[in-house]
Symmetry: C2
Subunit: 769 residues, 2 copies
């Protein structure tokens, strides 16, 4: 837990240089536009603690698997998002001497992340060993309107130096991933040099053969260079801008870079496209580009801001999370997804996990155009073939699909049998996301044309994955890992069994809907999906005879078979030195303990809240919450939502705090590796679904809001079907504004409220507060 950054509603500010935290700051101050991402590394050569990171969405390398003991079915590689061309670099020469900035040369430092407009600014004074003093300032952004463009405004002012100075903006492709399994370099040089516009480097990835071209030019302002010369060597392109500077003189440049790849362009068009995009950006100029970029961000915020009055830290925290979610995923491309660290570090290889469906999709559904979520769903639809292949490798047949635990292109990347082969509930989350999207948007276009294929293949997986137990006279699911990864290879994980049966029910329900609405379409689908009446009745039977572990005495669903055999000692009885247990206990001890890494039974009760009465949820919350260690960043938000529902306001707020400033305060001591992007959606969920109590009842939005004691008010917007709503919760009232025409029905505290076309807002006063 660290507290070195200034609190501000719209900015994150580092005042003074915290050299020991530089890698953390580099993660936190990352900028990105869904197409590329850049850690807050210095432009200049720097010899303090730093992890260079420039990433391009979709450009990955299949790094050869490293494993101690091979198991049949393990994938050959782990896909890694690549550390790519360093496009921000600007070196300084005094005479012939390159300036490498050391932490102790830095004073008057200020780094500022402007979240309103996704701008990174830095100012500092640098004093060389010789005593020369310079003021350096920079501002940069990854353009939201021209996704291939990154641009930097860079100024150097001499305080006491007179003489030759050279600015050297450059591109560098000689880059390695720190997490390479076998210390390989993943990039191979193609070409470098001068083109019609600007200066370029071009390289390709080994094995995957993605080719990337980066090209840049600069505009100098103020004092002009006396000489300009270019240098290109393999993997590098450098421009030398030579000046003679006097005391108090300032030199400035705007470096604009276009980065294009064969992920988006044909190889034969790559050079031309890069040229064209760079030329266009240079023609617009830095100021216009920046203005367009800021306007786009203003629109984003208009859609998805949460305003909290009375608590600056909370305000900064929630905006920080919303900001980074948008930076990571813009929803333009259905081949992209959301890595747990986004583009802020190398960890988890930038790949896709079930985090997307379980945590991120609810955020994007409420806060972004429909196509953003639709593209995330199309991503899985397009991977259906690979998911079927993946299931075949594990012995399934007849079109059953198991989506990978971790993937870049649809193929499984992970290599721990207890996760890769057994954490199969991920299939359920993908089906649930289809359901969630459909009820939010009230559109069946995806569902009937694409989703149904995914649902049928997932149902086929469950059908083959269950087996009949003579002993239990039920269908059981043996050998799984549930959401709580502190249990491996268990039998009848309640969450998995529940979501499996639900998948079968939901698929049937969708098929029945199609049949009722359009019998001839149904008949076509029946053939296309190769369905049979036997198969459908088998799904019915499994759904009806699914086994759910249940403890009669306590009237509780058990996390899995045998859970009540454990020593049930609450987390509060553990000593501080034992926590986090994953750093202090051996794995077997964790496994046989009762401790829960992240919501498991409770994850199910959150997903399917409508199927359980409040007493049931309360009983389960009170049983499982004391054993939950929340050692996954994905856990507290679910508890916050349920605690809110159960009127446990203090618990809800406690859980909210564990997600809201996770990275800003480096709560888990790992922010230096990158930000917890996917769990950031949990902060939004905690407020909107937790404090706001948002859910869908039937087809109607419902809120049961409360406000934490130390807040004055909070407000958020929700996109739901054809409506955009703004909800503001105060100490004693809740105000609903309808931002579009048309009627709107919603529940507030179970009271049905109907706003006609003309009625734009409504205030409800709390009876008790």
């Amino acid at each position: 837990m660290k507290d070195y950054l200034d609190k501000d509603p719209w900015k994150v500010i580092e005042n003074g240089f915290f050299k020991d935290y530089n890698k953390i700051t580099e993660s936190i101050f990352s900028i990105g536009n869904g197409y590329m991402g850049q850690r807050a590394n210095f432009e200049e050569s720097f010899d303090g603690d730093s992890m260079q990171g420039s990433y391009l969405a979709g450009i990955y390398y299949p790094d050869k698997t490293k494993v101690g003991w091979w198991k049949n079915g393990y994938p050959e590689y782990f896909a890694k998002v690549l550390n790519s061309v360093n496009w921000i670099g600007i070196d300084l020469l005094l005479g012939d001497q390159k300036m490498t900035i050391s932490p102790d040369m830095i004073s008057n430092f200020r780094r500022e992340l402007d979240m309103k407009s996704s701008l990174l600014r830095r100012e500092m004074t640098v004093t060389t060993k010789e005593g020369f003093v310079f003021k350096i300032s920079s501002e940069r952004f990854c353009s939201w309107t021209q996704k291939e463009i990154g641009s930097i405004d860079y100024k150097v002012k001499s305080i006491n130096y007179s003489g030759p100075i050279t600015l050297v903006p450059y591109l560098d492709f000689d880059i390695r991933n720190q997490d390479s399994n076998y210390d390989e370099q993943f990039w191979e040089n193609v070409d470098q040099g001068i083109s019609d516009t600007g200066f370029f480097v071009q390289a390709y990835t080994k094995k995957t053969f993605f080719e990337v071209r980066a090209q840049f030019d600069v505009v100098c302002y103020g004092l002009q260079p006396s000489k300009i010369r270019n240098e290109s060597i393999p993997m590098k392109a450098l421009k030398y801008l030579e000046y003679t500077i006097e005391n108090n003189e300032e030199i400035g440049l705007q470096k604009t870079v276009a980065i294009c790849s064969t992920f988006n362009f044909d190889k034969k068009d790559l050079a031309k496209a890069t040229e064209r995009i760079l030329t266009y950006a240079l023609d617009l100029g830095y100021d216009v580009l920046k203005a367009q970029h800021c306007e786009a961000w203003a629109n984003k915020w208009n859609e998805s801001d949460i305003v909290i009055e009375g608590d600056v830290a909370a305000q900064q925290g929630v905006r920080f999370n919303i900001f980074h979610l948008h930076q990571t995923y813009s929803g333009d491309d259905d081949r992209l997804n959301i890595g747990p660290k986004g583009f802020t570090g190398e960890k988890y290889g930038g790949s896709t996990y079930w985090d997307t469906e379980a945590y991120c999709i609810p955020f994007f559904l409420s806060n972004a155009p429909e196509k953003v979520t639709r593209n995330l769903l199309m991503y899985r639809y397009k991977h259906l073939g690979k998911a079927i292949e993946n299931a075949v490798k594990l012995g399934f047949k007849d079109g059953a699909a198991l989506y990978p635990m971790v993937t870049m292109n649809g193929e499984e990347c992970h290599n721990e049998w207890e996760i890769t082969f057994e954490e199969i509930h991920r299939n359920g989350a993908i089906a649930y996301a289809i359901f969630d999207y459909t009820r939010y948007t009230d559109s069946t276009e995806y569902l009937y044309n694409y989703g149904i294929h995914v649902l049928v293949a997932i149902s086929r997986f469950w059908q083959q994955r269950v087996n009949w137990s003579n002993d239990k006279e039920s269908y059981v699911i043996l050998g799984v890992t549930g959401p709580n990864e502190y249990e491996n290879n268990v039998n009848n994980n309640w969450y998995t069994n529940y979501i499996a049966a639900w998948c079968l029910r939901y698929t049937q329900q969708v098929l029945n809907e199609i049949k009722a609405n359009n019998p001839s379409d149904y008949n076509l689908k029946f053939v296309e999906l190769n369905l049979s009446d036997e198969e459908l009745s088998e799904w019915d039977k499994i759904n009806n005879f699914m086994y759910y572990p249940f403890d009669l005495e306590n009237q509780l669903y058990m996390q899995q078979d045998g859970f009540m055999d454990k020593s049930l000692i609450p987390v509060s009885d553990l000593s501080d030195s034992e926590q986090p247990i994953h750093q202090n206990w051996s794995w077997d001890r964790i496994l046989r303990s009762c401790y829960i890494k992240q919501a498991d039974v409770l994850q199910g009760m959150y997903f399917f809240e409508g199927n359980f009465d409040k007493d049931t949820i309360k009983r389960h919350f009170e049983f499982y919450e004391p054993f939950t260690v929340h050692e996954s960043s994905l856990s507290p938000c679910v508890h916050a939502i349920l605690a809110s529902k159960l009127d446990m306001k203090d618990k809800a707020y406690e859980m909210y705090l564990r997600t809201a400033r996770l990275d800003l305060d480096d709560y888990n001591n790992d922010t230096k590796d990158g930000l917890h992007i996917t769990s950031m959606a949990g902060t939004w969920m905690s407020i909107v679904k937790g404090f706001g109590g948002m859910k869908i009842k039937g087809n109607v939005l419902s809120f049961t809001p409360f406000i934490p004691d130390n807040w004055e008010s909070y407000s958020f917007k929700i996109k739901f079907r054809d409506n955009i709503l703004s909800i503001k919760v105060g100490k004693s009232d809740v105000e609903v504004a309808k931002l579009n025409d048309g009627n709107l029905s919603l529940f507030i505290n179970d009271e049905l409220i109907e706003l006609s076309n003309n009625q734009k807002s409504f205030i409800l006063y709390f009876s008790n507060n």
Copy 2:
């Protein structure tokens, strides 16, 4: 399955060169003396398929762990027995040209392993590209009487070549392990050159700093070399013996090598010791050394031979297994143990597994001097401190010990959490071996002075490893892997629970014995072992309230909780293409299946046969046998023994066949990696404990013999307490001979037979045959 070797009661013979099977043959024809081991590599340079292997007991390297996903508690290294100095090398030069033998240059090839005397002989004709023909023959052994000595008799006869020929006997320490995790060389050069006697190389192992000196000299016979010169370069010492040879002339040499290490000598004495040992051997000369060696082997066989009449393949098979067990472990040194591949390959790192206690110790108890087994038990006693440290790493305290799954020096080496942390039944096998040794020898010296320390520490482990289940109102053991490694992280593995409770009972029983026999010694022990009455009564309570999974309907102990939920489909219903399942199924599918890798519940019923009536054993055998795939070489022998007891002769013989010629016929297609040394004891067990029905009833040996239909007779010797017996089972009778003075009582077919001092033998005719 291969059948290219000639069958012979005392030899293994390769007639003609099977170049594609050369690595298999190299394993099968390995020689060793418990101190060193040597694969049957050629002396000459050879460019066919080969895996060079020269190993020294106890000399290992801690190779840095390779693991995909690190778990808390994993060991930093995996200890590997090292491929060591190549001491057999003899090169041939024709003029200046080194002869490298290719498979197609070889004719009239015969390789012969003389198991009676542990001699490896090879004859062949070699034809060079130029058409020169030579007859080459060699014989070698690792001396049983001078353990540091290896010696080779080597002859070359020219058939049609006249001219200069040079024999180059050499030592080479520039050796790598093929299984190195990171492609390191483990040896570092120390020195090389000429000493008073012979020529040496000396090197040390990185990290472990074992230093090894190998020194050799040669005696030439027949035609003498015209010139002798020496060459030494780092890691190598070569002697050039130059001859001029005519057609039909023969040259011969005897190369004698002494290999000494700091495992056995002080570093400062290493050079002198090697010199002294080599000098002594050279003084004796090849023929005397060999005669002493052969005599020692004759004595070995006299102790432990099994003679089978009427089945040469069976005879060869059982002798092959007994032979290699002796070659691997001589019992001279309590720092050594028995690796699953002995000194015949690199696999499994030459480390110690529970195989030793569960399979090898019964063999050595019956067939070798008492001290051999005692040293195996002392090995574990001396590792007790490390076993306690190992338990501390996993969260245990107060002197609880968990012996490692795989070890070289007492530290855990293995890195799969489901094995390393969870296959804890190994502790039970170590306690069982102490019990077995004590009842065999009727000696309590080890038990009271050493064993009790091991037993108490193991009991403390079980005490802390169980937990009380409120649900079951019993003690349970959660999260284990039983002997059947096709189940991981299961709850209440019956075998583990049973042997845990037995450990607690047995430890109490031993303490009570000490108390009854010698109360003052007991009081001393009570203090020394830091016992308390509370602890002892806690053990009692755990023993009394241990949970055993039981299926009421079928009256069966369950392998673990939930076993009856599986799809119970017998192995016979699997297609051939699916087997072995570990090569064809993904791990999760294996885990949730009912298939049993090796005896598990049945392993317990074999260990504790006396505690179950025949009907109970039969019920369990009939239930579990059809699900057992025997994909461990350790499995069939246990089934053979139980089937014999249950009068299922055909099943017993079928199971026997799966162990007896496992390596000779390359049954599992992996003999090229080395022999299955530890499972070789299973062949002996199948015959003596299976067909012979040997067990101990009370304090009396008991036999219930039968003979497989296609055998004429079989006979074996048994050392039991003060007696040595020879048992011969024929078609219609069993003959018992007592080979020592004194009385002997034994049961045959439950009939008590008493031989007085004077009565040396006894024949019992079978009533039914």
